[in-house]
């Protein structure tokens, strides 16, 4: 008798707790490597997404209903990612998913979402094939397919006719160099690409080869360690040619390693912690206050991806289906994020962002005046 009463009370209490909550809250999933070797990235995504979510809910959520993020740890493992995908798809409350981090797991789980019909927005997956999986895949990171043409036009507008491209010989370097070179040549310029092996530390012979062709500018498609070494050695060889680069060299460590040799190098990037824009300042200050460190590019990507998803939920309305959320995402236009205004191409679902032009000046990245 006693146990029956207890059961009834428990059920009634449970129903009282669950019923209004279920009616009020909207669920989305977020899968990211929260443990394992890439946990440092998952950690900043969670930090940034939590900030964005609290802000959104405090501002009224979706028509007064709060949004809840369900977190799952993919450990950067494609198998784990797929298992999480199944779990999210089976959870009828979830209407959209954020993540995963690396292209590999994101693409593996992408097949699940493509088949079952769930919108997936990755903050970072930059592999060219990711958005080609199905109409359900979105990403909030610009690829070299956008950056290359953008930088090519920038250099062309500056009157540069002849560019030497120096690129790291891997998948990423290849796509960075090819995208730039193709666009630059279409604009009527001349570009030659020289690849070097990962692990190269002495760039003097490559630089001497570049010097002989006497280009108007050198475009660097590499990461900050190689970039710092290359610029130091270029200075030592007395090269006066201006250097430009992809956003990959946008890292404080470049200046730390390269010292004054990196001064004058110019690049384009989407996120800048020193950007004076009000929304960026608010994000940087708030992030620092909460987590005691300056947000990096990844935090900004996660913050905006979450923001884009929440805006889409808002536009789709409180009782939206998964398909409606997808359509709302696809209609994203000029989302004012901290990584620039983002628009998804209706056909390819690739994001386009306004890129900021920066220059290294006196040991700091400074935003160049728009021209």
């Amino acid at each position: 008798m006693k146990s029956l009463v207890r059961t009834i009370v428990a059920v009634a209490l449970g129903a009282a707790l669950v019923a209004p909550a279920a009616a009020q809250e909207i669920y989305i999933g977020y899968q990211a490597p929260l443990t394992g070797t890439q946990s440092q990235y998952g950690e900043v995504f969670r930090n940034a997404a939590t900030m964005q979510l609290e802000k959104f809910n405090a501002a009224g959520g979706v028509g007064g209903r709060k949004v809840v993020i369900v977190w799952e740890d993919s450990k950067s493992d494609p198998k784990e990612a797929v298992a999480i995908g199944r779990k999210f798809v089976d959870d009828k409350r979830i209407v959209g998913v954020l993540g995963d981090f690396a292209s590999g797991p994101s693409m593996a789980v992408g097949e699940v979402y493509a088949k079952e019909g769930m919108a997936q927005l990755s903050q970072t997956a930059s592999h060219p094939d990711y958005t080609k999986i199905s109409k359900w895949q979105f990403r909030n990171i610009t690829t070299q397919a956008q950056e290359g043409p953008y930088n090519a036009k920038w250099l062309k507008d500056l009157g540069v006719k002849n560019v030497a491209v120096l690129a790291l010989q891997n998948d990423w370097g290849l796509s960075a160099a090819e995208n730039f070179q193709k666009s630059f040549e279409q604009l009527g310029g001349k570009a030659t690409t020289e690849y070097f092996n990962p692990g190269t530390r002495d760039f003097r012979s490559i630089l001497t080869k570049v010097q002989r062709t006497n280009p108007d500018a050198v475009y660097l498609a590499m990461f900050y360690e190689e970039g710092a070494l290359l610029l130091q050695q270029a200075k030592q060889l007395g090269m006066k040619v201006p250097f430009y680069s992809t956003s990959a060299l946008y890292a404080p460590k470049l200046i730390e390693l390269g010292g004054d040799a990196v001064d004058g190098m110019k690049l384009t990037t989407t996120f800048d912690a020193n950007n004076p824009a009000a929304n960026v300042r608010a994000f940087v200050e708030d992030y620092k206050k909460r987590y005691g460190q300056e947000p990096n590019q990844f935090a900004a990507q996660g913050y905006d991806a979450t923001g884009i998803m929440l805006e889409a939920l808002k536009r789709a309305g409180p009782n939206a289906t998964r398909a409606q959320v997808r359509d709302a995402l696809a209609a994203t236009k000029d989302y004012p994020g901290v990584t620039g205004a983002t628009t998804f191409d209706p056909q390819t679902r690739e994001p386009s962002k306004t890129l900021a032009k920066m220059e290294v000046k006196g040991g700091k990245f400074v935003v160049m005046p728009q021209q």
């Binding site: 690849y195 070097f196 092996n197 530390r201 002495d202």
Partner: protein, 304 residues
Amino acid sequence: MFDVHFLQQIVNGLSLGLVYALVAIGFTLIFGVLNVVNFAHGEVYTIGAFAGLLLITSVAPPLFAVLLVVAAVGALTGFGLERLAFKPFRRFRDEASIKSRAMREATLLSSLALSIVAREVLDLAFGGEMQVIPQSYLLQTPIMIGGVALTDGNLVILGASILMLAGLQWMLYRTRTGLAIRAVSNNVLGAQFVGINTERAIVATFLVGSMLGAVAGIMVGLYDGSIFPHMGFGPAVKAFVAMVMGGLSSIPGAVISALILGVAESVATDFVSAGWKDLIAYGFLIVTLVFFPRGIFGYSRERV
């Protein structure tokens, strides 16, 4: 074709070759004596670079003092390396064991194991990324000579290489220790029979070889501007190629081969994509092994 850029390419190549030579000297010395590759030589080079960097960031002494301290650290590392990876495999004194290839070649693995441990410990302690080097210590100050850019690093490395090579030859041919080292490298058993303390000669070889490796590490680190836990691998591979080209146990042969290798890599960059650069080294290695199995400088009996 033969313009100032070509000359610059030759200079680049010689400086690259000197870097390979610096590593190859210690490598070849140890091979000459033990007849086995010391796989940990690349890590001795890395440890030298890190020791120098720690000294620079903590005390900031003049460069000369840095090199001296690094040499001492290198010698100490060599001593430890010999103790841990090589000595245990010489504990049997009977003739069969001394002549046993298996006992000798087991040190291939023990030195490889130690090199992995050293690299991973450095990785854990400092992180895998490149270390920040104080700008004033970088050996990259340009010295322009008629359009060709040299650096103070070129001069330091050249000076150090000449000094090391000369010092080494003097030690090998003018001192009792050198005589003992040469005797051991010629015939361990014979050396033992005439009363030479072979253990001491082997330890001395490691001290000297590792000292040279460590000094090479810090100099190249400052010259390239890059110090990180995996930095020893690339130069060690090229030094190995130079050693094989030079006939395995001839130090002057290895040095000349290293210079040829450096210049060939550098000049080739003008004709083929730099992505093919490593092909040059391995091409030389294959050609040497197929056509000149005793090294490109021909047959010679004298070891070390």
